[in-house]
Amino acid sequence: MKAVKHGVYFWQGSEACAEAAILAGCRFFAGYPITPASEIAENLAKRLPQVGGIAIQMEDEIASVGAVIGASWAGAKAMTATSGPGFSLMQENIGYAFMTETPCVIVNVQRAGPSTGQATKCAQGDVMQARWGTHGDYSAIVLSPNSPQEMFTLTMRAFNLAEKYRTPVILLSDEVIAHMREKVAVPPVEKIEIINRKKPKADEKAFFGLVEVPPMPAVGEGFNVAVTGSTHDEYGIRFTSDPKVHRRLVERLNSKIQNHVEDIADVESYNVEDCRIGVVSYGCTSRAVYEAVENAVAQGVKTGYVRLKTLWPFPEKTIKKLAEKAEKIIVPEINLRQIFYEVERAAEGKAKVIPINKIGGGELIAPEEIMHKILEEAKKGDG
């Protein structure tokens, strides 16, 4: 068995992620065991060698991202997978990947934190860490799947965005989605879009600027590429004091993402144009929203939803549009308010933003809880 064939499979989210990575062209995985993400490593340890790829286990998560970065500079599409504690350790090298514009995919299967927290229990507490986890100014791309099918499609998209924008991309999954088993449709090969990094022409020398997304050579190709996490000019030469070089580099690293929010930010929405109550959700929680909204609509409340498939860059315009229509926006999350504040900011006071939060023990927010909130808020009316 090489890459998986067109068809419908009954896969666990982790399995869908691994198979999608292979189809996207990933040929290197390095990771460290951690609940609830180990299944991705286990699947790839079996599958990657079958397609000529490499899967190794490193001594920790720091080394895992390090090896992924090395593999990416050697020309491979590469990834790692972890959960909160490991994601914390990875932040140093993730920052390095941003600064050096190293395409790679980092999967974080969220569990309850802080610290060791509840290793086997679902959470959505790493939303802000995924955006701001490493130090300095940068813009992250963070995707949020809500089914095994999306573990498949968004893993592929993560690789494509990483290659297109030459940046690390974070697939922010959670314990429920990674462990859930559902139908996953694999499209025929000719229907699968695969983006590969832009390579330099033989005489090119600027791999870190001059254009928004510069071409990326691999080591060993004769380009004498100098890669550094220190502030560097277009040619990779360090400038550790020059304010202009720093601004030029770091502002471009941000603008190459922020100028393309329309391309990157993806949502699923329903009834946004004609709703009194809107619900904004993502990941495992969004599965309960479908049923809650359906029931609220059946009971005569004009309700709509926006489901964030991209968390970062934040789909601000979509939320703004929702706030212009809806009187109230309900934000259910398995954390103590994270994306809530971002929704509130984007709503600019045009709609009241109301949180539903629950944490611990892997308890999800039930459809009834969301529905009752919708009905209650609809009854209360404005303000």
């Binding site: 090896a67 390095y96 080591v219």
Partner: protein, 276 residues
């Protein structure tokens, strides 16, 4: 090899950043001489990975070559990814004692354990030089540094012995007072397989030497020369005697199967199993 050796042949046209008298000049020279004597016209068959610290600046970006200047201590993990994907390239890691034996120590041990096919050159100046001379895991007991103003109260680490114990295929230690032996060890190591480790004991007159009583780099090199002993001589000394000495020479040379060989054998077996 008719033309005379010149480091310039292998360097970018940039001013080197090292302080006057820094041992990094000697290590850079020894490495490039080794490369030259092995017949490499350029560094196109090499990839250099280095972390943070003065020694990490030896290749990055000064070598006219591919170089990856990683976060502090992370050169070996990055080199792991590079080497596995590009097994035909010589992957060489340069780092200081802080980078390799301090913050990056776990990676160093595990790479030696895996017998990863890279050459690690650790420039051991016994101090954190770039940050101004703080105590390092290699600082001799009782030495005064900026963070041990009353003298270091920790035992130093013997990275060469550790590499041998962890499984490296080749381990040697020389000093900047032994540039020829250092160069010859590098020559041997470049063409050996598996994990190769060379420790180059080196002087930092700026951030270490003057704090422990040396007037200049020359005095430090003299001290290295006078206090270097062979591995055989070291066997006769107790711990206190050894503390004053630098044990120089080749600690191990062996041919354990390497990590690259193991990884590619797995790929072959997995693909064969799939065909059947």
């Amino acid at each position: 090899m008719a033309e005379k050796f010149s480091v310039k042949k292998y360097l970018r046209d940039l001013k080197l950043p090292f302080c006057p008298g820094c041992g990094a000049f000697t290590v850079m020279d020894a490495f490039l001489r080794a490369v030259y004597e092995l017949g490499y016209e350029d560094l196109s068959k090499f990839v250099f990975c280095s972390g943070i610290g003065c020694a990490s600046w030896i290749p990055s970006p000064y070598f006219m070559a591919d170089s990856i200047h990683t976060p502090h201590g992370r050169s070996i993990p990055v080199a792991t990814g590079v080497k596995l994907l590009k097994p035909d390239l010589n992957v060489v890691v340069f780092g200081g004692d802080g980078d390799i034996a301090g913050i990056g120590l776990s990676h160093f041990i595990h790479a030696a354990r895996r017998n990863l096919d890279i050459l690690v050159i650790m420039v051991n100046n016994m101090v954190y030089g770039m940050t101004g001379g703080q105590v390092a895991p290699t600082t001799p007991l009782k030495a005064k540094t900026t963070t041990t103003p009353y003298g270091s109260f920790e035992y130093p680490l013997d990275a060469a012995k550790l590499a041998v114990a962890a499984g490296a295929n080749y381990v040697a230690r020389w000093t900047t007072a032994h540039p020829n032996q250092l160069k010859d060890a590098i020559k041997k190591a470049i063409h050996a397989k598996g994990f190769r480790f060379i420790e180059a004991v080196s002087q930092c007159p700026t951030a270490y030497g003057r704090k422990v009583g040396f007037r200049d780099a020359g005095e430090m090199i003299k001290w290295f020369r006078e206090n270097a002993i062979t591995i055989e001589q070291a066997e006769k000394l107790n711990e206190d005697g050894l503390a004053q000495k630098i044990v120089a020479g080749e600690f191990v040379e062996r041919k354990r199967p390497t990590f690259v060989e193991a990884v590619y054998r797995i790929i072959e077996e997995a693909q064969k199993a799939e065909e059947n």
